[in-house]
Structures are given as C-alpha cells and as structure tokens.
C-alpha cells in the first residue's frame, strides 16, 4: 500500500477538572450552566499544575510507546501549541507571555526540546501555528504530504492547547479544556488510512471576536462545502459515511451540519462532549477513544471535520 495512515493517537488532560456550575460560580462562563448542559457540556479540564510542554511530552511519549514506532524512525516532528517560555509554565500564562516577549526567554523552543527529550535524533522539526482549532489537522496535512513527497516513514504531530488559567472558558456556547494530543502519521499499515483531506481558509474572518456573528453565518455553508469536497476527493457519497468524529462544539450545531451535508447514515461520536469539552485537538482525542472503545470498527468510513478561528474549515476522510 502507498497511502498514509494515522498510526497512533494519544492524549493527556490536566489533573484538574471543573463542572460547568463551578465555572459559572467563578465567573468563567458567559452563559447559564443549564444552557451549556443543553448544548452538551458538563465538565472541562483545566491545567493548574501542569505546563503545556509537560502534557505535550506525556502525550508524545505515550503515542510512541503505544504505537511501537521506533523513535529512530520518526523523520519529522510537527508541533503546534504554546510557544516560547509560555510552553513551560503552568498557571497564568498571560503574565509570562508579556515578560517572555521582553527577554531572551522567548528563545526557548518547546518543539525542538521535544525532539531532544524524546530522542528523535532523525527528526527535523516544524512548527505549525495560526490555524486555531485546526492546528492538528494542519500538522497532519503537512505530515502526510511530506511523507508522500520526501519518503519520510513516520511523522509525529504534537498539539498543546492551553488557555490562561483564569480565563473565561466559553466561546459561542462551547466550553474549552486544556489538553495535549499527539498523532503519529506514517506509511499505511492497513488501518486508519487517510483517504482524502481538505482545508479552506477565509481570511476575512481573521478577527474572530469582532466578526463573531459573521463567523456564525459562514460556519455552516463552509462546513457543507468542505465536507462535500472531501467526500468527492475520497470518492464517497454522503451516505457512505459511517461515523463523524466531531470537534466538541455545541451539539446542536452538529445536528445542522449533518443535515446540511446530507450524511443520513452517519453516526456522530459525541461521547466526549460532556466529559471533556472542546479542545483544539478534540477530533483526534475522540478518534482515539472511538477506536479504542470499539465504536468505530475496521473498514468503516470515518469523517473528521473541524473549524478553527482565523478562519479555517477542514476535514479528513479516513478508512478505519
């Protein structure tokens, strides 16, 4: 086989989690907890002790261990997430960010440290950024392409997604967790083959907060568009999709996306929405759990769709 597959996924959540009621009491939600529960959310994970780097390293080590890939076979590391000094500190990263920008601390690089700490001596390192919730999709897209064009056998994609500890945790009726997730992409082993992937960027929406309503308006037709193109590239019809692995946003929006995309037979794997909330890597966290739980079985057709502020719409069609 000549395709590229997802060979392993592992993730790490911080040790602390909070229910939506607690978050509301702390003033860290915009909506009433009951409304967020109706949208599917119950708890999220908040890093109070761990740094982004620690969780990123833990998830990367885990995926290497679980997949059985020899570290010497990793030819590429793609890192997306906290940069500079902010990657190494728990707590209020906003303050650190300011000081880090003023000092030489900004010249400390979590991506290359990962290569060093994991002993990936044959890997080159690339940072992937500016893609919001589609950072990990973007990393996998680049990894797949370089595997195909440069003969790299395995690429490690690492995402660390942290918000300032005391920040508001809700965006447009979606609650966000801190998390790290690592994915190994490599030459096909017969499972989890990436059949197609697509990504569209609409730069008009670069100001996410100011254009909130416009983004809400653009989200659905562009979701329909990118899903349709991905399915076309895969040679699938909408009815061929067995599972949709979501990003963990408001579940009501998913009902609409499935309807608009015409995926009448697809089941939405939404188990993690109430217990983990949204993270920038949630599609892949969900993919791991859906595969591990036996929900998604070998040979089934899976669609991952994600959206990232900036604004980006992206999808992967994968044969499990």
């Amino acid at each position: 086989m000549t395709g590229i597959s997802i060979l392993g996924v592992s993730y790490a959540f911080p040790s602390t989690s909070r229910g939506v009621e607690e978050l509301a009491l702390d003033g860290r939600l915009r909506s009433e907890p009951e409304r967020l529960k109706q949208a599917g959310f119950n708890r999220i994970h908040i890093a109070e002790q761990e740094s982004p780097y620690e969780l990123g390293l833990a998830s990367a080590q885990a995926v290497l261990d679980e997949s059985g890939v020899d570290p010497d076979d990793i030819g590429l590391v793609l890192y997306s997430g906290a940069a500079g000094e902010t990657a190494f500190h728990p707590g209020n990263v906003t303050n650190i960010e300011r000081s880090a920008l003023r000092t030489a601390d900004r010249n400390r690089f979590p991506a290359t440290r990962l290569q060093f700490d994991l002993g990936l001596e044959n890997a080159s390192v690339i940072g992937v950024d500016q893609l919001g919730g589609t950072n990990l999709f973007g990393a996998i897209r680049v990894a797949r392409s370089l595997c195909l064009t440069e003969g790299i056998s395995h690429a490690l994609c690492v995402s660390t997604d942290f918000m300032p500890t005391d920040s508001v945790r809700e965006t447009i009726f979606t609650c966000t967790s801190d998390a790290a997730c690592s994915v190994i992409v490599g030459q096909d082993r017969g499972r989890n083959r990436i059949v197609a992937s697509r990504h569209v960027t609409k730069g008009f929406f670069w100001e996410a907060d100011r254009l909130r309503d416009e983004i809400l308006g653009a989200y659905f037709p562009n979701a329909q568009l990118i899903i349709g193109k991905t399915l076309d590239d895969a040679g699938w019809s909408a009815d061929d999709v067995d599972w949709v692995i979501p990003h963990n946003v408001n579940l009501r929006s998913w009902e609409l996306v499935l309807k608009l995309a015409g995926m009448r037979n697809a089941r939405l794997w939404s188990r993690n929405v109430p217990r983990d909330g949204h993270t920038l890597a949630d599609n892949f966290i969900n993919l791991r759990d859906a595969l591990e739980s036996g929900s998604v079985r070998g040979g089934e057709r899976v669609l991952l769709f994600g959206y990232g502020y900036g604004a980006h719409w992206t999808a992967i069609a994968m044969e499990a």
Binding site: D213, L216, G217, A218, Y219, S253, L256
Partner: protein, 363 residues
C-alpha cells in the same frame, strides 16, 4: 364612473404616497381626503412629498380609537358618498403580536367601516397575498384566506380583516398585494422592506441557510405597480365583490434566481468579493429552524433581533405558492413587471446601503 371624492387611509406610507400622486394625476379634479392621526404634520409630509395640492385635505382619525376618534368636524367631513374609500392603513410589522396586529388591521377596519357607513361608499381593502399563509400550490384570487396557518400575525390579521369587509354588507373590492420590495419598477428603494432587509443580511453573510428549493417562487412587486393597480381598480363597478391579486404571478422569480442575480451584482464589488461569502444553502424548513435556533441562542443581540424579524418572512420560501393573477390581468390590461427586470437594481442598492454602514444602524 365619475371620480370626484376619495378617502384614503395610510397615505403617509410608501404605497399611500405613490397612490396619492397617481390619483392626483389621473383624477386632477377629484377631492381627496386623507385620514391621518396628526393633521398638523400632514402639511409637512405633503410638502416633503411634493404634493402641495389644495384638493388633498387631511381629516383627523385614529383607527385604534373607537369610532376612529372622529371629532364632529371630522365626522361631518366624512359625511356623504365617496367614489371609493381606499383603506391602506395597516400594521405591517412582521414581529407584531396578534393582539397588536388585530387592533389595527381588524378592529381598525371595522371601525372605519362603521364610521363611513352613512354614505355607504364602496370600500377597497388593500390586503396581502400572504393571507394565503402557509398554503402551497396555486392560489386563486377567489380563494378565501388560509386555513393552513400563517407565518406571522400580520397575515392572520389581514385575513380576518378581509372577513370583516366581506361580511359588512358594503360594496367592496379586495386587492391583495405581494410583498412590496422597492418603490418603482426600476428597482429604486427608499424604504427597507422585510425582504430587502433579508437581502442585506444575506449580503453581510448572516444568513447562510434559507428554507426552500431552488425553484421556490419569490413573488414580489414594486410599490408603483400596486399604486397604479389600486387606482385603476378602485372605482370600477365591475370590480365590486371581487378579490384581485396584485402579484408578479408568472413574472415571479425563484429563490435560485434572486440569489444568482444578487451574487452577480455583489461580485462586481471587489471589496464584497474578497469576503468570500458563501451563497445561502437551500434546505428544508426543519433544518432552517435548527440554524435559526442556533443563531438565536448564540448570536449577539443585533443578530438575534435580525433573526426575530426574519421569522415572519422566510417560512414562505418553504411553502411554495404561485399566485394566479388572471382576474387582475384582465381587469387592468397590464401586469406587474417581472422580478427579473428590476432585481439587479435592488441588489445594487443592497450593496450600496450596507457599504455605508446602514446595516449597523438597522441592527
């Protein structure tokens, strides 16, 4: 028929103003009485409208008040017979609740009928074609209003007003207009209709989903056509007891048409084109409602307000209907201009109005 005395309500609206002008031209010798709430402001309005004509006189009347609130002088002015009473005044707001809409549209009509009963003058009710409500298919002019429900209280109250007129025992003519989308057959727009507002939201990218199919009819008319049609139907004996559709009919557009034509025009503006706004996805009503709910739950206050306004309009796209206009066509000898003949001008006006920040002020 000799036309020498006319009473009009709702003359201060867009349609009323155009009708007044049209009547003044066609019947220069007729005395026209306009019922307004504040006669003092009428003079100001009339001069603004370029109709400083001594034969157009105001009479104080308020449809929300029993007996239309007529003073003895006003009651005297309304005595005698009119060539026709043209009742345009209405609550046309799509977000009014049923009580508000009924107060003006049903009770107001009843009050006006009673206040003018002495003269027994012919009564023309200007209604809406959307009294067909959520019916689908071909709607004939002789069809009574919907039993399939309505998209908003305005339609329901106008349907009830028709019943009031029909059962009044007066000579009547009912003229049901399609939604007015522009002032003139050239597509000039000075007042923003609900459909125009919807176009502005689509232009701004706020309306990614619309209920309906590509071939769902969009039947709209310019105000000048409606004004002329009222003028030409209101005074004829053979129209008594009849109902007419003042609609585009065969000249209606489709949802696909109006989106395509609008995109053609808007795409000529490089600034708009760079926004990469995707044309609305046409879908079933249930799916549209999912989006509407999402927008109402998650949107900022202006977006919520905009969607609330649209709630009374968009269900019609999902309840496709074709308005038969054969009676009006025969009686008038002309038809409404086809929507295709002026839609691009409307789309251009949408682009201009949003470009000047009018959307923010509307929101």
């Amino acid at each position: 028929m000799m036309v020498d005395r006319i009473l009009i309500t709702g003359a201060t609206g867009l349609l009323g103003g155009l009708l007044l002008r049209s009547l003044s031209v066609k019947y220069p010798e007729a005395d026209i009485l306009v019922m307004v709430r504040e006669p003092k402001r009428w003079i100001e309005y009339l001069s603004g409208f370029g109709l400083m004509d001594r034969r157009v006189a105001p009479v104080a009347g308020d449809l929300l008040v029993p007996g239309v609130g007529l003073t003895p002088e006003a009651r005297a002015a309304l005595g005698g017979r009119f060539s026709s009473i043209i009742h345009l005044a209405a609550d046309t707001c799509l977000t009014s609740d049923l009580e508000q809409a009924r107060a003006v549209n049903v009770e107001g009509t009843r009050q006006l009928l009673e206040a003018t009963e002495v003269g027994g003058s012919p009564f023309c009710l200007v209604s809406t074609a959307l009294v067909a409500g959520l019916r689908t298919g071909r709607i004939m002019e002789s069809d009574l209003p919907s039993r399939a429900g309505w998209a908003n209280a305005h339609e329901q109250s106008k349907a009830e007003a028709e019943e009031v007129v029909r059962s009044s025992g007066r000579d009547f003519t009912i003229m049901r207009s399609s939604p007015i989308v522009c002032d003139t057959s050239a597509g000039r727009v000075t007042r923003y209709s609900p459909l125009f507002q919807l176009l502005r939201f689509i232009h701004a990218g706020f309306t990614p989903v619309l209920p309906g199919r590509a071939d769902s009819p969009v039947d709209v008319v310019p105000a000048d056509f409606v004004a002329d049609a009222i003028r030409d139907l209101a005074f004829r004996r053979e129209t008594r007891g009849a109902t007419f559709h003042l609609c585009a009919g065969e000249g209606a557009a489709t949802l696909e048409n109006i989106i395509e034509w609008s995109w053609e025009v808007w795409s000529e503006d490089p600034l708009w084109r760079r926004r990469s706004i995707t044309s609305p996805v046409l879908t079933d009503f249930y799916t549209y409602q999912l989006f509407e709910t999402a927008a109402l739950e998650t949107g900022d206050a202006p977006l919520v307000r905009l969607f609330s306004q649209m709630g009374g309009l968009v269900p019609h796209f999902a309840h496709a209907k074709h308005f038969d206009t054969s009676g009006a066509d025969a009686a008038l000898g002309y038809r409404a201009p086809s929507v295709s003949s002026y839609w691009r001008a409307i789309a251009a006006e949408v682009n201009r109005s949003v470009g000047t920040g009018a959307l923010e002020s509307a929101a």
